[in-house]
């Protein structure tokens, strides 16, 4: 049997299991739009916790965190994980539960329905629609592209004689890390088709079930991976000795944050604010059975993030320690590199799984990584299908002219189109999916002031909201263009900083800081000078404790 065959069979078995979950959940489908899009608001605390966590953790949580820790050291945990633990819960509490109460009372399924009603403006929907869709697409691309890469790396050696499966380096020598593996275009296509099928048939209930299952899989397998890789890399008698040995060889650059700018650490706090405006997270909030259902995600999100991230961070810094000194290199092939010769940090985890574990465990761990990827993809596909249907077609054609059945058919049709478009885009030459991810999060974070104001500030006007959206996206576009000018050798998009001269002192800011600040300021200023919302609107959204 060729290398990679076992892994491929396990991955295929896992995908079949997911399809079964999708078909099983379809048996509970009640046939209504509300059931298809928000599972008839029937999701309890456990499923909400698991599906929200699975949705917010992308490939970045497993693959990207290991790679970033390899590059920057332990500080990555504080910069991206413990901060998310605080801010995600805060968003679920202060934004999630509150919009859920409005949505249950006034029958919203999407953010745009809420904003249209809250601001008494149809145009805010027209403005938000392309912005939200445009920001979700790169997020989807991260998952689709990563899944193809993971499957290729994990099945390397499967069919080295087939021309489609061959993989070469720029100098035309064989790339040992990927040669003979399922080509990325085929792996990505397979993942897209599986996710499409269970979302198509299962709707939100299928998505929530699949998310919960996949979240459990990637959390359990993440811990198992950590245990196995630590024992293999350490080579000592006991697990604890291996932990001590591996950590002792990590250089100070990676066991401290000496090379990390303190200002950057602070500014990264703004990135997790994006969760407050993710349309797919919003739709998951809408599935909750009751307000109390939110307590589990609010409390346990930081713990779950910790369970997934800490092992990945340690593996990343250990790998740096082992491979930065020739005396400590473990046996086996060298780390995968980019065409420039630099280590391809995003392939470190799949590489370790492939080289340090057996074929069977490797196959399961590959399934775990794919689970993390797919648990975000499904919600995003469903969400885009829902907002196309509700905010464009149904809104303009009229609810009374479309039956529930027709709206479900429309949602499904849009999902098929979105999956097809995303897949085709993934075949293009994307410079860095992880840099795209951070930029996509920054865009959503720039819209964060809008949702906070809509919920807590009576003075927010429709024009103020529009100014906020326009400013956010204009600033995002301008800064993204500037980021594209940074050569890859200098870090590319990820490394771009905005430099401001204050009394001769050069202040460097992450683009997200500028985006959030300008979006908030324009919203406040324009709201001050434009007509305030009507009394009826204010009464509807700020006097909830007095039922009519």
């Amino acid at each position: 049997m060729n290398p990679g065959t076992t892994q491929l069979l396990i991955i295929l078995g896992y995908l079949v299991l997911l399809l079964a979950i999708g078909f099983l959940s379809n048996r509970l489908f009640r046939g209504t739009k509300t059931d298809y899009q928000v599972a008839s608001h029937s999701i309890g605390p456990f499923l909400l916790l698991m599906s929200l966590f699975g949705t917010t953790m992308t490939a970045f949580a497993l693959v990207g965190s290991t790679g970033q820790a390899y590059r920057e050291g332990i500080g990555v945990y504080g910069m991206l994980a413990s901060s998310s633990g605080i801010i995600h819960s805060l968003c679920f509490f202060l934004i999630g539960v509150k919009v859920w109460t409005f949505a249950r009372k006034y029958q919203y399924t999407t953010q745009i329905e809420f904003f249209r009603d809250r601001l008494d403006s149809d145009f805010i929907g027209v403005l938000l629609f392309p912005v939200l869709v445009g920001l979700v697409i790169p997020y989807l691309l991260i998952g689709v592209i990563s899944s193809g890469g993971v499957i290729q790396a994990m099945t390397a050696g499967l069919a080295p004689d087939l021309s489609w499966f061959q993989s070469f380096q720029p100098d035309q020598t064989i790339n040992p890390a990927t040669h003979g593996g399922v080509p990325p275009w085929l792996g990505s296509l397979l993942i897209c088709l599986v996710v499409l099928t269970y979302v198509f048939y299962g709707g939100m209930r299928g998505t929530a079930w699949a998310n919960a299952f996949q979240t459990a899989i990637f959390m359990i397998l993440g811990v198992v991976t950590f245990y196995v890789i630590a024992n293999r890399l350490g080579g000592k008698a006991s697990f604890f000795e291996n932990l001590q040995h591996l950590s002792s060889i990590v250089p100070e650059s990676h066991s401290t944050r000496k090379n990390m700018a303190q200002g950057q650490f602070l500014m990264y706090l703004l990135i997790p604010l994006s969760v407050g405006m993710f349309p797919h997270v919003f739709q998951h909030w809408m599935t909750a059975k009751s307000a109390r259902t939110f307590k589990a995600p609010v409390i346990l999100q930081p713990l779950f993030i910790m369970i997934v991230w800490v092992p990945c961070i340690l593996i990343g810094v250990w790998t740096f320690g082992l491979f930065s000194s020739p005396d400590l290199h473990p046996s086996g092939p060298p780390l995968p590199t980019l065409s420039s010769g630099v280590v391809d940090a995003n392939k470190i985890l799949p590489f370790l799984v492939k080289t340090q574990t057996g074929a069977i465990l490797g196959g399961f761990l590959a399934a775990g990584i794919l689970a993390a990827i797919m648990s975000s993809l499904d919600s995003q596909f469903l969400c885009l299908g829902t907002i196309f249907t509700n905010d464009i077609v149904t809104h303009y054609v009229g609810k009374d002219r479309l039956s529930d059945r027709q709206q479900v058919v429309l949602t499904r049709a849009f999902i098929v189109v979105i999956v097809a478009v995303t897949y085709l885009l993934s075949l293009g030459n994307v410079r860095s999916v992880f840099a795209m991810g951070v930029w996509c999060f920054s865009g959503f974070a720039a819209l964060f002031p809008l949702i906070v104001a809509a919920l807590y500030w009576r003075g927010l006007s429709a024009f103020g909201a529009m100014a906020s959206v326009v400013t956010a996206i204009a600033t995002w576009g301008y800064l993204f263009y500037q980021g594209l000018q940074v050569p890859m050798e200098q870090g590319g998009l990820s490394a771009y900083m905005v430099h401001i001269d204050i009394n001769g002192i050069d202040v460097s800011l992450k683009p997200v800081v500028v985006m959030v600040f300008t979006s908030a300021v324009s919203m406040i200023l324009v709201s001050w000078i434009t007509p305030k919302p009507s009394e009826a609107v204010l009464k509807k959204f700020f006097n909830l404790d007095q039922p009519k």
Binding site: Y36, S82, I86, F93, T101, M306, L314
Partner: protein
């Protein structure tokens, strides 16, 4: 639906957690706790656990949402809507 919601405890907890998050005093310390856990990483593990405990306390004692009243409101609104415009319905069983 919502009791008079005081944001003070929630914002106070968040502020304390965010201050604890900025642990500049451990920036350059390479100490390994238990022989394997860099102290800077251990601190942030502690921040994550502190967040879990804090949110548990806040949701227990400062939960501003009352499901029973909310469901009454939902039902009342649904009745009003139903009285104003009858909804279309159809099956979409696949």
């Amino acid at each position: 639906m919502q009791r008079q919601m005081s944001l003070t405890p929630i914002l106070l907890v968040s502020a304390i957690l965010l201050i604890l998050h900025q642990d500049y005093w451990l920036w350059s310390s390479s100490k390994l706790v238990f022989g394997f856990l860099p102290v800077g990483l251990l601190w942030h593990l502690g921040v994550s656990l502190a967040a879990v405990i804090s949110w548990a306390v806040v949701t227990q004692f400062y939960w501003p949402f009352d499901d029973d009243t909310l469901l009454d409101c939902v039902e009342e609104h649904a009745n009003e809507t139903a009285a104003q415009e009858p909804t279309t319905d159809g099956g979409a069983q696949s």
